[in-house]
Protein backbone atom coordinates (compact mmCIF):
# COMPACT_ATOMS: atom_id res chain seq x y z
CA UNK A 1 0.00 0.00 0.00
CA UNK A 2 1.30 3.45 -0.92
CA UNK A 3 2.09 5.71 2.05
CA UNK A 4 0.70 9.23 1.89
CA UNK A 5 2.73 12.27 2.88
CA UNK A 6 0.49 15.14 4.09
CA UNK A 7 2.65 17.65 2.15
CA UNK A 8 2.44 15.91 -1.22
CA UNK A 9 0.08 17.12 -3.95
CA UNK A 10 -2.14 14.62 -5.77
CA UNK A 11 -3.71 14.87 -9.20
CA UNK A 12 -5.75 12.55 -11.40
CA UNK A 13 -3.32 10.31 -13.31
CA UNK A 14 -2.68 10.91 -16.98
CA UNK A 15 -4.54 7.81 -18.16
CA UNK A 16 -7.78 8.85 -16.46
CA UNK A 17 -10.42 11.50 -16.87
CA UNK A 18 -12.59 12.48 -13.92
CA UNK A 19 -16.02 13.99 -14.47
CA UNK A 20 -19.56 14.31 -13.15
CA UNK A 21 -22.17 12.22 -14.96
CA UNK A 22 -25.69 13.60 -14.48
CA UNK A 23 -27.38 10.46 -15.85
CA UNK A 24 -25.65 8.32 -13.22
CA UNK A 25 -25.78 10.93 -10.46
CA UNK A 26 -22.13 10.19 -9.75
CA UNK A 27 -18.55 11.15 -10.44
CA UNK A 28 -16.77 8.69 -12.70
CA UNK A 29 -13.22 7.92 -13.78
CA UNK A 30 -12.93 7.26 -17.50
CA UNK A 31 -10.06 5.41 -19.12
CA UNK A 32 -9.50 3.54 -22.38
CA UNK A 33 -12.70 1.56 -22.97
CA UNK A 34 -13.62 1.58 -19.30
CA UNK A 35 -15.26 3.47 -16.45
CA UNK A 36 -15.27 3.39 -12.65
CA UNK A 37 -18.41 4.79 -11.05
CA UNK A 38 -17.38 6.43 -7.78
CA UNK A 39 -19.32 6.53 -4.53
CA UNK A 40 -19.92 9.90 -2.97
CA UNK A 41 -16.92 9.87 -0.63
CA UNK A 42 -14.51 8.79 -3.39
CA UNK A 43 -15.91 11.44 -5.73
CA UNK A 44 -15.55 14.19 -3.10
CA UNK A 45 -11.92 13.25 -2.43
CA UNK A 46 -10.92 12.88 -6.08
CA UNK A 47 -12.56 16.15 -7.15
CA UNK A 48 -10.10 17.85 -4.79
CA UNK A 49 -7.05 16.16 -6.36
CA UNK A 50 -6.39 19.23 -8.45
CA UNK A 51 -2.57 19.36 -8.66
CA UNK A 52 -2.61 22.38 -6.31
CA UNK A 53 -3.78 21.31 -2.82
CA UNK A 54 -1.71 19.06 -0.53
CA UNK A 55 -3.17 15.92 1.02
CA UNK A 56 -3.41 17.79 4.35
CA UNK A 57 -5.29 20.67 2.71
CA UNK A 58 -7.69 18.23 1.09
CA UNK A 59 -8.42 16.66 4.47
CA UNK A 60 -9.01 20.07 6.05
CA UNK A 61 -11.33 21.11 3.22
CA UNK A 62 -13.37 17.90 3.50
CA UNK A 63 -13.62 18.23 7.28
CA UNK A 64 -15.02 21.71 6.80
CA UNK A 65 -17.37 20.75 3.96
CA UNK A 66 -18.80 17.76 5.83
CA UNK A 67 -18.66 19.27 9.30
CA UNK A 68 -16.48 16.49 10.63
CA UNK A 69 -13.30 16.62 12.67
CA UNK A 70 -11.24 13.56 11.98
CA UNK A 71 -11.16 12.42 8.37
CA UNK A 72 -7.38 12.07 8.08
CA UNK A 73 -7.26 8.28 8.37
CA UNK A 74 -10.16 7.68 5.95
CA UNK A 75 -8.87 10.09 3.32
CA UNK A 76 -5.32 8.75 3.53
CA UNK A 77 -6.54 5.18 3.23
CA UNK A 78 -8.58 6.04 0.14
CA UNK A 79 -5.74 8.02 -1.46
CA UNK A 80 -3.37 5.11 -0.85
CA UNK A 81 -5.80 2.76 -2.55
CA UNK A 82 -6.36 5.18 -5.42
CA UNK A 83 -2.60 5.48 -5.86
CA UNK A 84 -2.18 1.70 -5.95
CA UNK A 85 -4.96 1.50 -8.55
CA UNK A 86 -3.10 4.05 -10.69
CA UNK A 87 -5.88 6.67 -10.47
CA UNK A 88 -3.80 9.30 -8.66
CA UNK A 89 -0.29 10.68 -9.23
CA UNK A 90 1.75 12.85 -6.83
CA UNK A 91 4.26 15.65 -6.72
CA UNK A 92 5.96 17.36 -3.82
CA UNK A 93 4.38 20.66 -2.80
CA UNK A 94 6.12 23.62 -4.46
CA UNK A 95 7.76 21.51 -7.18
CA UNK A 96 6.23 21.86 -10.61
CA UNK A 97 6.50 19.05 -13.10
Amino acid sequence: MASISPDAVPRIARLYRFQWEPAQGAFVLLFPEGMVKLNEAAGEILRRCNDRDTAAEIVADLEQAFDSDDLTADVQAFLAEATDSGWVEWRTAGAHP
Binding site: Q24, L30, E33
Partner: protein
Protein backbone atom coordinates in the same frame (compact mmCIF):
# COMPACT_ATOMS: atom_id res chain seq x y z
CA UNK B 1 -41.05 -4.20 -16.55
CA UNK B 2 -40.54 -3.34 -12.89
CA UNK B 3 -40.10 0.18 -11.58
CA UNK B 4 -36.30 -0.04 -11.74
CA UNK B 5 -34.65 3.06 -13.22
CA UNK B 6 -34.22 3.10 -16.98
CA UNK B 7 -31.00 1.47 -18.14
CA UNK B 8 -28.32 3.80 -19.51
CA UNK B 9 -26.55 3.09 -22.82
CA UNK B 10 -23.14 3.76 -21.27
CA UNK B 11 -21.30 2.44 -24.33
CA UNK B 12 -22.00 3.79 -27.80
CA UNK B 13 -20.25 2.01 -30.64
CA UNK B 14 -20.23 4.19 -33.74
CA UNK B 15 -19.45 2.03 -36.75
CA UNK B 16 -18.69 4.85 -39.15
CA UNK B 17 -18.08 2.77 -42.28
CA UNK B 18 -17.69 -0.75 -43.62
CA UNK B 19 -14.82 0.40 -45.84
CA UNK B 20 -11.65 -1.33 -44.66
CA UNK B 21 -8.32 -1.97 -46.33
CA UNK B 22 -7.91 -5.18 -44.28
CA UNK B 23 -9.65 -8.50 -44.99
CA UNK B 24 -9.43 -10.39 -41.70
CA UNK B 25 -11.33 -13.68 -41.79
CA UNK B 26 -12.52 -13.18 -38.18
CA UNK B 27 -14.04 -9.72 -38.71
CA UNK B 28 -17.07 -9.01 -36.51
CA UNK B 29 -18.83 -7.09 -39.30
CA UNK B 30 -21.86 -8.86 -40.79
CA UNK B 31 -21.07 -11.16 -43.71
CA UNK B 32 -23.61 -9.26 -45.83
CA UNK B 33 -21.97 -5.85 -45.26
CA UNK B 34 -21.62 -5.18 -48.98
CA UNK B 35 -25.42 -5.25 -49.38
CA UNK B 36 -26.01 -2.53 -46.83
CA UNK B 37 -27.28 1.01 -47.36
CA UNK B 38 -25.54 4.36 -47.61
CA UNK B 39 -23.44 5.67 -44.74
CA UNK B 40 -24.83 8.20 -42.28
CA UNK B 41 -23.79 11.76 -43.05
CA UNK B 42 -21.77 13.95 -40.70
CA UNK B 43 -24.94 15.76 -39.61
CA UNK B 44 -26.72 12.48 -38.93
CA UNK B 45 -23.85 11.24 -36.77
CA UNK B 46 -23.79 14.54 -34.90
CA UNK B 47 -27.45 14.08 -34.02
CA UNK B 48 -26.83 10.48 -32.88
CA UNK B 49 -23.96 11.62 -30.65
CA UNK B 50 -26.11 14.35 -29.06
CA UNK B 51 -29.10 12.09 -28.49
CA UNK B 52 -27.09 9.22 -26.99
CA UNK B 53 -25.15 11.59 -24.73
CA UNK B 54 -28.43 12.99 -23.42
CA UNK B 55 -29.34 9.44 -22.33
CA UNK B 56 -26.02 9.14 -20.45
CA UNK B 57 -23.75 7.47 -23.03
CA UNK B 58 -20.19 8.24 -21.98
CA UNK B 59 -17.80 5.75 -23.60
CA UNK B 60 -17.74 6.21 -27.35
CA UNK B 61 -15.91 3.91 -29.75
CA UNK B 62 -15.29 5.12 -33.29
CA UNK B 63 -14.89 1.99 -35.32
CA UNK B 64 -15.88 0.34 -38.59
CA UNK B 65 -14.52 -1.01 -40.93
CA UNK B 66 -11.65 1.40 -40.72
CA UNK B 67 -12.84 4.69 -39.18
CA UNK B 68 -9.83 6.55 -40.62
CA UNK B 69 -11.45 6.18 -44.02
CA UNK B 70 -14.09 8.76 -42.94
CA UNK B 71 -12.70 12.23 -43.73
CA UNK B 72 -15.02 13.79 -41.13
CA UNK B 73 -13.61 11.71 -38.23
CA UNK B 74 -11.79 14.70 -36.70
CA UNK B 75 -14.99 16.76 -36.77
CA UNK B 76 -16.98 13.98 -35.08
CA UNK B 77 -14.29 13.51 -32.42
CA UNK B 78 -14.31 17.24 -31.65
CA UNK B 79 -18.07 17.27 -31.30
CA UNK B 80 -18.06 14.12 -29.13
CA UNK B 81 -15.39 15.49 -26.84
CA UNK B 82 -17.31 18.73 -26.50
CA UNK B 83 -20.35 16.74 -25.41
CA UNK B 84 -18.31 15.04 -22.66
CA UNK B 85 -17.68 11.60 -24.19
CA UNK B 86 -14.51 9.65 -23.55
CA UNK B 87 -13.50 9.09 -27.16
CA UNK B 88 -11.83 5.87 -28.31
CA UNK B 89 -10.51 5.37 -31.83
CA UNK B 90 -10.39 1.71 -32.82
CA UNK B 91 -8.15 1.42 -35.85
CA UNK B 92 -5.95 -0.84 -37.94
CA UNK B 93 -3.54 2.11 -38.20
CA UNK B 94 -4.02 2.43 -41.95
CA UNK B 95 -4.56 6.12 -42.75
CA UNK B 96 -3.39 7.36 -39.35
CA UNK B 97 -0.60 9.59 -40.63
CA UNK B 98 1.26 12.47 -38.95
CA UNK B 99 -1.19 15.12 -40.18
CA UNK B 100 -4.34 13.30 -39.11
CA UNK B 101 -3.07 12.16 -35.72
CA UNK B 102 -2.19 15.79 -34.93
CA UNK B 103 -5.68 16.85 -35.97
CA UNK B 104 -7.21 14.11 -33.80
CA UNK B 105 -5.11 15.27 -30.85
CA UNK B 106 -6.36 18.84 -31.39
CA UNK B 107 -9.93 17.55 -31.65
CA UNK B 108 -9.56 16.05 -28.16
CA UNK B 109 -9.34 12.33 -28.92
CA UNK B 110 -8.72 10.48 -25.64
CA UNK B 111 -7.32 7.11 -26.65
CA UNK B 112 -6.29 4.93 -29.59
CA UNK B 113 -6.71 1.19 -29.87
CA UNK B 114 -4.38 -0.23 -32.51
CA UNK B 115 -4.92 -3.72 -33.90
CA UNK B 116 -2.26 -6.23 -34.84
CA UNK B 117 -3.19 -9.60 -36.29
CA UNK B 118 -0.03 -11.27 -34.98
CA UNK B 119 3.47 -10.66 -33.62
CA UNK B 120 5.06 -11.81 -36.89
CA UNK B 121 5.03 -9.91 -40.14
CA UNK B 122 4.20 -13.07 -42.07
CA UNK B 123 1.04 -13.99 -40.20
CA UNK B 124 -0.09 -10.39 -39.63
CA UNK B 125 0.11 -9.74 -43.33
CA UNK B 126 -1.42 -13.08 -44.33
CA UNK B 127 -4.44 -12.74 -42.03
CA UNK B 128 -5.16 -9.15 -43.01
CA UNK B 129 -4.33 -9.77 -46.69
CA UNK B 130 -2.24 -6.59 -46.61
CA UNK B 131 1.36 -5.57 -46.06
CA UNK B 132 0.65 -3.62 -42.90
CA UNK B 133 2.88 -5.05 -40.16
CA UNK B 134 5.66 -2.46 -40.49
CA UNK B 135 3.10 0.31 -41.00
CA UNK B 136 1.40 -0.69 -37.73
CA UNK B 137 4.72 -0.55 -35.89
CA UNK B 138 5.35 2.95 -37.26
CA UNK B 139 1.81 3.99 -36.36
CA UNK B 140 2.38 2.79 -32.79
CA UNK B 141 5.39 5.14 -32.64
CA UNK B 142 3.24 8.05 -33.82
CA UNK B 143 0.58 7.26 -31.22
CA UNK B 144 3.17 7.33 -28.44
CA UNK B 145 4.90 10.44 -29.82
CA UNK B 146 1.58 12.29 -29.65
CA UNK B 147 1.04 11.22 -26.03
CA UNK B 148 -2.06 9.08 -26.47
CA UNK B 149 -2.78 6.17 -24.17
CA UNK B 150 -2.62 3.08 -26.39
CA UNK B 151 -4.37 -0.24 -26.26
CA UNK B 152 -2.91 -2.90 -28.50
CA UNK B 153 -5.57 -5.33 -29.64
CA UNK B 154 -4.92 -8.74 -31.11
CA UNK B 155 -7.68 -11.16 -32.01
CA UNK B 156 -6.55 -14.62 -30.86
CA UNK B 157 -7.42 -17.89 -32.57
CA UNK B 158 -5.98 -21.27 -33.52
CA UNK B 159 -3.51 -19.77 -36.01
CA UNK B 160 -1.79 -17.30 -33.66
CA UNK B 161 -2.58 -18.46 -30.11
CA UNK B 162 0.78 -20.20 -29.82
CA UNK B 163 2.44 -16.80 -30.31
CA UNK B 164 0.86 -15.26 -27.22
CA UNK B 165 4.21 -14.71 -25.48
CA UNK B 166 5.59 -12.91 -28.52
CA UNK B 167 2.40 -10.88 -28.91
CA UNK B 168 2.86 -9.71 -25.31
CA UNK B 169 6.50 -8.83 -26.07
CA UNK B 170 5.36 -6.80 -29.07
CA UNK B 171 2.94 -4.85 -26.86
CA UNK B 172 5.82 -4.10 -24.46
CA UNK B 173 8.11 -3.01 -27.31
CA UNK B 174 5.61 -0.57 -28.78
CA UNK B 175 4.82 0.92 -25.35
CA UNK B 176 1.16 -0.04 -25.09
CA UNK B 177 -0.47 0.66 -21.71
CA UNK B 178 -3.00 -2.12 -22.25
CA UNK B 179 -3.06 -5.30 -24.29
CA UNK B 180 -6.34 -6.88 -25.27
CA UNK B 181 -5.98 -10.54 -26.21
CA UNK B 182 -9.43 -11.04 -27.65
CA UNK B 183 -10.10 -14.69 -28.30
CA UNK B 184 -12.28 -14.94 -31.37
CA UNK B 185 -15.99 -14.91 -30.65
CA UNK B 186 -17.80 -16.95 -33.26
CA UNK B 187 -20.15 -14.64 -35.16
CA UNK B 188 -20.07 -13.18 -38.65
CA UNK B 189 -16.89 -13.99 -40.58
CA UNK B 190 -15.43 -15.83 -37.61
CA UNK B 191 -18.39 -18.20 -37.51
CA UNK B 192 -17.96 -18.88 -41.21
CA UNK B 193 -14.30 -19.72 -40.56
CA UNK B 194 -14.76 -21.43 -37.21
CA UNK B 195 -13.08 -24.69 -38.16
CA UNK B 196 -9.88 -22.74 -38.91
CA UNK B 197 -10.06 -20.51 -35.88
CA UNK B 198 -11.30 -22.43 -32.83
CA UNK B 199 -8.22 -23.33 -30.79
CA UNK B 200 -7.80 -26.65 -29.05
CA UNK B 201 -8.17 -26.90 -25.29
CA UNK B 202 -4.43 -27.60 -24.97
CA UNK B 203 -3.63 -24.42 -26.91
CA UNK B 204 -5.92 -22.36 -24.66
CA UNK B 205 -4.35 -23.79 -21.53
CA UNK B 206 -0.83 -22.97 -22.75
CA UNK B 207 -1.93 -19.42 -23.59
CA UNK B 208 -3.51 -19.04 -20.16
CA UNK B 209 -0.24 -19.98 -18.49
CA UNK B 210 1.70 -17.59 -20.70
CA UNK B 211 -0.66 -14.74 -19.81
CA UNK B 212 -0.47 -15.52 -16.09
CA UNK B 213 3.35 -15.54 -16.20
CA UNK B 214 3.44 -12.25 -18.14
CA UNK B 215 1.03 -10.59 -15.70
CA UNK B 216 3.23 -11.61 -12.79
CA UNK B 217 6.30 -10.22 -14.58
CA UNK B 218 4.76 -6.95 -15.85
CA UNK B 219 2.43 -5.91 -13.03
CA UNK B 220 0.90 -2.48 -13.67
CA UNK B 221 3.32 -1.65 -16.50
CA UNK B 222 1.17 -3.39 -19.10
CA UNK B 223 -2.34 -4.46 -18.21
CA UNK B 224 -3.44 -7.55 -20.11
CA UNK B 225 -7.10 -8.27 -20.80
CA UNK B 226 -7.59 -11.86 -21.80
CA UNK B 227 -11.08 -12.52 -23.15
CA UNK B 228 -11.68 -16.26 -23.50
CA UNK B 229 -13.93 -17.84 -26.09
CA UNK B 230 -16.79 -19.21 -24.06
CA UNK B 231 -16.96 -22.45 -26.04
CA UNK B 232 -14.56 -23.70 -23.36
CA UNK B 233 -16.66 -22.53 -20.40
CA UNK B 234 -19.67 -24.35 -18.97
CA UNK B 235 -21.69 -21.22 -18.27
CA UNK B 236 -22.41 -18.62 -20.94
CA UNK B 237 -21.45 -14.97 -20.84
CA UNK B 238 -23.95 -12.17 -20.59
CA UNK B 239 -24.79 -10.54 -23.88
CA UNK B 240 -22.97 -7.18 -23.67
CA UNK B 241 -23.56 -7.02 -19.92
CA UNK B 242 -27.25 -7.73 -20.57
CA UNK B 243 -29.30 -7.16 -23.71
CA UNK B 244 -30.30 -3.51 -24.00
CA UNK B 245 -28.77 -2.56 -20.64
CA UNK B 246 -25.39 -0.99 -21.40
CA UNK B 247 -24.44 -1.16 -25.05
CA UNK B 248 -25.72 0.28 -28.32
CA UNK B 249 -24.13 -0.21 -31.73
CA UNK B 250 -24.99 2.07 -34.62
CA UNK B 251 -24.12 0.58 -38.01
CA UNK B 252 -22.76 2.69 -40.88
CA UNK B 253 -26.26 2.82 -42.42
CA UNK B 254 -27.91 3.90 -39.15
CA UNK B 255 -29.29 0.56 -38.01
CA UNK B 256 -29.17 0.39 -34.21
CA UNK B 257 -28.31 -2.93 -32.54
CA UNK B 258 -27.96 -4.17 -28.95
CA UNK B 259 -24.73 -5.96 -29.97
CA UNK B 260 -22.47 -6.22 -33.03
CA UNK B 261 -23.93 -9.49 -34.24
CA UNK B 262 -27.65 -9.07 -33.55
CA UNK B 263 -28.65 -8.57 -37.18
CA UNK B 264 -28.44 -12.33 -37.75
CA UNK B 265 -31.43 -12.84 -35.45
CA UNK B 266 -34.68 -13.52 -37.31
CA UNK B 267 -37.99 -12.01 -36.27
CA UNK B 268 -36.57 -8.74 -34.95
CA UNK B 269 -36.92 -5.43 -36.79
CA UNK B 270 -33.89 -3.35 -35.99
CA UNK B 271 -34.71 0.35 -35.90
CA UNK B 272 -32.79 3.03 -37.76
CA UNK B 273 -31.54 6.28 -36.29
CA UNK B 274 -32.69 7.79 -39.59
CA UNK B 275 -36.31 7.13 -38.58
CA UNK B 276 -36.38 7.27 -34.79
CA UNK B 277 -34.59 9.09 -32.00
CA UNK B 278 -31.93 7.20 -30.06
CA UNK B 279 -34.12 7.66 -26.98
CA UNK B 280 -37.13 5.93 -28.56
CA UNK B 281 -34.93 3.18 -29.93
CA UNK B 282 -33.22 2.55 -26.60
CA UNK B 283 -36.25 2.75 -24.32
CA UNK B 284 -39.13 1.53 -26.43
CA UNK B 285 -38.19 -0.34 -29.61
CA UNK B 286 -39.12 -4.04 -29.60
CA UNK B 287 -35.57 -4.87 -30.73
CA UNK B 288 -34.02 -3.39 -27.58
CA UNK B 289 -36.71 -4.57 -25.13
CA UNK B 290 -37.21 -8.10 -26.51
CA UNK B 291 -34.55 -9.82 -24.35
CA UNK B 292 -34.05 -7.16 -21.67
CA UNK B 293 -34.29 -8.70 -18.19
CA UNK B 294 -35.56 -12.25 -17.54
CA UNK B 295 -39.29 -12.20 -18.44
CA UNK B 296 -38.67 -13.59 -21.94
CA UNK B 297 -36.95 -16.77 -20.74
CA UNK B 298 -38.21 -20.28 -21.40
CA UNK B 299 -36.97 -23.32 -19.44
CA UNK B 300 -34.34 -24.24 -18.38
CA UNK B 301 -33.26 -20.58 -17.91
CA UNK B 302 -36.62 -19.53 -16.41
CA UNK B 303 -36.18 -21.83 -13.43
CA UNK B 304 -32.42 -21.51 -13.07
CA UNK B 305 -30.98 -19.93 -9.90
CA UNK B 306 -28.22 -18.37 -12.05
CA UNK B 307 -30.57 -16.64 -14.50
CA UNK B 308 -29.76 -13.14 -13.20
CA UNK B 309 -26.06 -13.84 -13.49
CA UNK B 310 -25.76 -14.62 -17.19
CA UNK B 311 -29.26 -13.59 -18.35
CA UNK B 312 -29.53 -16.69 -20.54
CA UNK B 313 -26.26 -15.99 -22.34
CA UNK B 314 -25.83 -14.73 -25.86
CA UNK B 315 -28.88 -14.63 -28.16
CA UNK B 316 -26.79 -14.71 -31.33
CA UNK B 317 -24.83 -17.74 -30.20
CA UNK B 318 -28.04 -19.48 -29.14
CA UNK B 319 -29.55 -18.83 -32.56
CA UNK B 320 -26.46 -19.77 -34.57
CA UNK B 321 -26.05 -23.07 -32.72
CA UNK B 322 -29.69 -24.08 -32.16
CA UNK B 323 -31.80 -22.17 -34.72
CA UNK B 324 -33.94 -20.78 -31.85
CA UNK B 325 -33.40 -17.19 -30.65
CA UNK B 326 -34.97 -17.92 -27.25
CA UNK B 327 -33.02 -21.09 -26.53
CA UNK B 328 -30.59 -21.30 -23.62
CA UNK B 329 -27.11 -20.44 -24.90
CA UNK B 330 -25.76 -23.95 -25.59
CA UNK B 331 -22.42 -23.05 -24.03
CA UNK B 332 -24.31 -23.71 -20.77
CA UNK B 333 -24.05 -27.34 -19.73
CA UNK B 334 -27.69 -27.15 -18.55
CA UNK B 335 -28.74 -26.58 -22.17
CA UNK B 336 -30.29 -29.66 -23.78
CA UNK B 337 -28.20 -28.79 -26.86
CA UNK B 338 -24.84 -28.35 -25.09
CA UNK B 339 -23.56 -31.26 -27.20
CA UNK B 340 -23.37 -28.92 -30.22
CA UNK B 341 -20.59 -26.94 -28.51
CA UNK B 342 -18.81 -30.13 -27.48
CA UNK B 343 -18.99 -31.32 -31.11
CA UNK B 344 -17.34 -28.12 -32.35
CA UNK B 345 -14.58 -28.56 -29.77
CA UNK B 346 -14.11 -32.23 -30.70
CA UNK B 347 -13.90 -31.17 -34.34
CA UNK B 348 -11.17 -28.67 -33.45
CA UNK B 349 -9.21 -31.43 -31.68
CA UNK B 350 -9.39 -34.06 -34.37
CA UNK B 351 -9.95 -32.67 -37.80
CA UNK B 352 -8.35 -30.13 -39.99
CA UNK B 353 -10.46 -27.51 -41.71
CA UNK B 354 -12.56 -28.76 -44.59
CA UNK B 355 -13.07 -25.44 -46.35
CA UNK B 356 -10.62 -22.75 -47.36
CA UNK B 357 -10.50 -19.59 -45.24
CA UNK B 358 -12.99 -16.97 -46.42
CA UNK B 359 -11.42 -13.50 -46.22
CA UNK B 360 -13.59 -10.49 -45.42
CA UNK B 361 -13.92 -8.75 -48.76
CA UNK B 362 -16.80 -7.11 -50.63
CA UNK B 363 -16.76 -9.77 -53.34
CA UNK B 364 -17.08 -12.55 -50.76
CA UNK B 365 -19.79 -10.64 -48.95
CA UNK B 366 -21.80 -10.30 -52.16
CA UNK B 367 -21.39 -13.99 -52.88
CA UNK B 368 -22.53 -15.21 -49.48
CA UNK B 369 -26.04 -14.82 -48.29
CA UNK B 370 -27.22 -14.93 -44.70
CA UNK B 371 -28.81 -18.34 -44.94
CA UNK B 372 -25.65 -19.95 -46.28
CA UNK B 373 -23.63 -18.30 -43.52
CA UNK B 374 -26.03 -19.48 -40.85
CA UNK B 375 -25.80 -23.14 -41.80
CA UNK B 376 -22.03 -23.43 -41.92
CA UNK B 377 -20.71 -25.63 -39.16
CA UNK B 378 -24.08 -26.45 -37.62
Amino acid sequence: MSSAPDPIPLWLVAELTYTCPLHCPFCSNPVDFAHRGTELSTAEWERVLREARALGAVQLGFTGGEPMSRPDLEQLVAQARGLGYYTNLITSGVGLNERRIGALRDAGLDHIQLSFQDSTRELNDFLSSTRTFELKRRTAGLIKAHGFPMVMNCVIHRLNIDHVERIIELAEQIGAEYLELANTQFYGWAYLNRSHLLPTRAQLERADHAVAAARARLGERLRIYHVISDYYENRPKRCQNGWGTTFIVVNPDGTALPCHAARVLPGLEFPSVREQSVRDIWLHSPAFTRFRGTDWMPAPCRDCPEREKDLGGCRCQAYLLTGDVTATDPVCDKSPLHARVLEAIAHAEHESALRPLVFRAPENSLRLDQSAAATVGS
